[in-house]
Point group: C2
DNA sequence: TATTGTTATACTCTATAACTATA
DNA sequence: TATAGTTATAGAGTATAACAATA
């Protein structure tokens, strides 16, 4: 019934060769970025598969807890999702009774998404896993400073679209040093 | 006929809010990683859409030029693709006459993939774009040192699966300092 | 007319299973 | 029997268009 957190690992095609060490592609930043992203998603799945939570699902639950007043438009914006896809996301969680939709006073078009008790208690376990997962990544990256630098780099890339045309001032970090 | 390099930008749903500044999700590494990866793919598309090359397509052409002796199994492994999906990738490029399949002496099951003249000349333009693209990312990241550190971090995440179970020795970088 | 939530739909990427022809 | 290439198919993510109800 509930969706599998992420796909399994290779079967038919063999172990799929972990890293193309020495290949031409090692110099291509976008290529490594994609591979790293896939690796972290797989790791996410290992941490969360028994809770049957996918990244977007956990993210929505977190947002609902921390920003309970957020409307649907704001939530889709924060999650960087299209409205249409947000509906399906909420449907999945609502079918599991983790969230509810309710009317909004003052605008009969709008609907409010709220955590149920069940959703909140699942989220509490999810938050534990999340902390453990982040802790693991922190160690892999080599400490707070390395993590902060890494997040800074990611922020710069995320803001790439904005820096693109304005040829100067190529920055605008959103990141906060987690320590020093 | 030829595949579009990447999807267009939002229409129906508004500008989709660039960055969830201050949101809960800013602390979640995997979330930022995904967003950064999407941003670089969009930027890739801007550089390559008129060549009608997607990331995997460029990567294969690069590999074919630098590793012309590689068999199909090796290529799929280097690209971290499933055999089944590699076929479709080659089909697209073969339909555009950028690559060719030819028999291999000594194993009548195997087929060799080679660049055509047309493929090579497209690739030469592609390599120019690729250098410009990497240069852009280099500037965004803030120089060679920042880029090298970033690649190191990505390598560590890519090797995450291997470091996972063996609780000590959480490393194994593949990266070479681009400068210093 | 514009906006909110929604449905329907399509395309890309990734994954699995199973076939074929060789080995 | 195992392997190389292939086909078919399915799932997850992301994209667009269009509609009903409401503003």
């Amino acid at each position: 019934m509930a969706p599998p957190a992420v796909k399994k690992q290779t079967y038919d095609n063999g172990p799929e060769a972990a890293a193309p060490v020495g290949g031409v592609l090692n110099d291509i930043l976008g290529y490594k970025l994609r591979r790293a992203q896939l690796a972290t998603f797989e790791e996410f799945a290992r941490h969360f598969h028994d809770l049957e939570l996918r990244p977007a699902e956990l993210a929505l639950l977190l947002l609902l807890k921390r920003t309970p007043e957020a409307g649907q438009a704001e939530l889709t914006s924060l999650l960087v999702l299209k409205r249409a896809n947000f509906v399906a996301l909420v449907n999945r969680l609502a079918r599991r009774e983790l969230v509810e939709r309710s009317p909004v006073d003052g605008d009969r078009r709008a609907r409010k998404i709220t955590l149920t008790t069940k959703g909140l208690s699942l989220l509490e376990e999810g938050e534990k896993r999340q902390r453990a997962y982040e802790q693991q990544l922190l160690q892999i990256l080599g400490g707070n400073r390395a993590r902060a630098d890494f997040l800074t780099a990611l922020d710069r890339l995320i803001n790439l679209a904005e820096t693109r045309d304005c040829s100067s001032t190529p920055r605008r970090d959103v990141n906060q040093r987690t320590s020093g």
